[in-house]
Chain length 425, copies 2
């Protein structure tokens, strides 16, 4: 299958925007620029008034939590978790995981996201089904809480998930291990997770240093901060995607550099839950890879990566009093190229020959895009996810002129609403 | 003209949402609830899957600056003003003001805004034309810089604007005086503005305490902080809408309370320009009216009030470490009811019998609105301005199913682009 995106405004890896065509051959970009001689496209997409950017990478989410969107907002974290989120999650059955993730996929594709890193469970195989059916990329991990009585079983589920799905769906599914967080996993348990992951050569996706309270708890319990605590268990040895990383000291940043830990920064969730502001400009200066995630829809409350890109660009300016803190292009890269790096994908997140054809086309026809002095500025500071027009992933068209090509939107919204009603009644 | 909005989810002034119909008779809401007996609607709007909220009030903007959207971003404030914004503004002619404001009106109506408070000039009569033609409400002021050689002339222009337009367009246009800021207006000049405004019974719209640097400058020059400085000129005596108010001390908050000063908080602009975070939770505790504005499109870069509502809800949570700092309903009220109060409009900003029929209908059909546990949470934390479906102002339909009814969108975008290209070449 050959697809030609004709004459779009293409954001190149160096940040410049050029009027160019993108030739897609199979799963990869064959050329960006002039149409290659003899390239016979099966499908032509008109790029007029379209901005082409890499598909967004949501580096940290809990997809099936869409079912709890707007169920419990504006409350203290522990009240939220103990009295609202956890009791409902305990009731979730396999179909809830499926329809919740399917709803997430609808929302993500419609807002230009092509890859998501998911930590949840049980029934992560149902999220894998959604990834396979939707045509997206999924980096899946079984969320493992060590303090729960079934901790060992969860490690086993993650092992099974890895064996059954790592590399599945033409390589669009990859699997990581998902130990939930230092404060929910004792040291011996983390060692077991580390061993299980390393035996398979799997990487790790973990929540780190989200709130001040959890850090104080770890310090009190173990006499050290979370990064030192986890480092000693060996968990960081096989490659780590660390979500949040809001509160860090110098020693922890040194540990992150030593183990090449990649960060999934979640500005929307950190703002809504009042967790704090991650030191993103500092992390960038230190050469640490910083990606963006939405977190779950019950703490955001949407899965709109462009909004996270916008928040990342705005939040760090105001908290550092530096209008150059996170420039527009850097924020966009956090949501695309750095996102792909953070979740462990090669050849994803850049629009250039040889890269995987994960492409989001954004319509620039609306009033918020007028006049067009600078397209990247317009996308980051003025555009909206609703401007996303067409989405390709792995060379396949997932949405065309806002119509989903792989998923039945109406049925999914109906079934997800039904699941949510049952869970919360 | 009688219009019936049938069976929508209506957000009432007390924050509850009820399935109800809204009967509009002439410029006002006749009833919210059951359809009044014998109400013969000329026009019926189906409210199924629609959330009805008051039209958004943009309490601080510079509409014609849309022409500079994306022209100069990611730079220091003084570099931005001196080398980019001011040189272009100096070239603006009457038609630029008109097409820039028309572009703003297109964008505002399409994102659910029915009222805007504008400070700009010269040629504010052309902004008045846009208000008259668009069917929106405009609270207009001539931006007056006292340190410029033509300061007196600008006061005269504001007097003329008031005399010609206050109460015009069936009362949809009101006029305030627009002394730019303490740091651009010396004391004797502010006294002249105060006298001119008070002779006409006009209120004042002014930038206050936006950056730390301008406060330091006033303190150095006059030995007092800006609110004390302005208070002594008498400018606060006739009613004041103060934009920004980012950095305040206790004495200044006392002055604000004494003069019933209303605040236009601009979270997007304050974040993008790295000005700082206004003490909104404190101001609310003190009983001060806090509204929301987008500021100009060159420092935002859109005129999306729902985004400001979202930012207001998120920013103050994270900076205060309090997840209850600005709850969803409070943020929505800042963008509607409190906005109307701040810009001096009575009977606007509430959906109830007797109020002006300024109504925004938001479609809840998208994935980001599923499931629907709480509509106000969904609007504030998950919805997008692109979900705005239909907009009424003063009883007239300005947009229906996203089609503008009063303005020629295509022509306006074309002409605005042409103006912007001429100004920046």
């Amino acid at each position: 299958m050959k697809t030609l995106i004709k004459d779009a405004a293409v954001v190149r890896p160096d940040g410049t925007t050029a009027q160019a065509s993108i030739a897609v051959d199979g799963t990869r970009i064959a050329a960006v620029g002039a149409v290659p001689e003899g390239f016979a496209a099966d499908e032509i997409i008109d790029g007029k008034d379209m901005l082409a950017v890499p598909g967004f990478v949501n580096a940290h989410t809990h997809a099936s939590m869409t079912l709890l969107r707007s169920y419990a907002d504006d409350m203290e974290l522990m009240e939220w978790l103990n009295n609202h989120i956890w009791p409902v999650e305990a009731k979730m059955v396999s179909d809830d995981i499926y329809w919740g993730a399917a709803l997430a996929a609808v929302e993500m594709i419609k807002s230009g996201t092509t890859t998501f890193a998911d930590m949840y469970g049980p029934f992560m195989e149902r999220v894998a089904d959604v990834v396979a059916q939707s045509g997206m990329r999924g980096v899946l991990s079984r969320g493992i809480i060590g303090v729960a009585p079934d901790g060992e079983k969860k490690i086993e589920e993650n092992v099974t998930l890895y064996k059954d799905y790592h590399g599945a769906a033409d390589g669009r599914i990859t699997v990581m291990f998902g130990p939930h967080a230092p404060y929910t996993c004792p040291p011996d348990f983390l060692k077991k997770v580390a061993r299980a992951a390393q035996q398979l050569g799997a990487e790790v996706h973990i929540h780190m240093n989200e709130t001040r309270a959890e850090i104080a708890q770890i310090e009190k319990q173990y006499g050290k901060r979370p990064f030192a605590y986890v480092e000693e268990t060996g968990l960081f040895e096989s490659g780590t995607l660390a979500a949040h990383c809001v509160h860090l000291d110098d020693e922890e940043i040194a540990i992150m550099k030593k183990h090449h830990i990649r960060v999934a920064h979640n500005p929307g969730s950190n703002m809504k839950l009042a967790s704090g502001t991650a030191p993103v400009p500092r992390l960038r200066e230190e050469g640490i890879c910083v990606a963006l995630g939405t977190d779950g829809a019950s703490s955001n409350n949407n899965l709109d990566m462009l909004q996270e890109i916008q928040l990342a660009a705005l939040l760090h300016k105001v908290t550092s009093y530096d209008p150059l803190a996170v420039p527009a292009l850097e924020a966009l890269k956090m949501g695309t190229e750095y996102g792909a790096e953070a979740v462990g994908l090669k050849d994803v997140g850049r629009l250039e020959a040889g890269a995987k054809a994960d492409i989001t086309l954004v319509s620039m026809k609306g009033a918020a895009w007028c006049p067009r002095h600078n397209e990247v500025s317009l996308l980051v500071y003025s555009g909206s996810a609703a401007d996303v027009d067409t989405v390709l992933c792995d060379g396949k068209i997932l949405m065309r002129h806002r119509a989903l090509q792989t998923l039945d939107e109406e049925k999914i919204l109906f079934e997800a609403s039904r699941c949510a009603a049952r869970l919360t009644r």
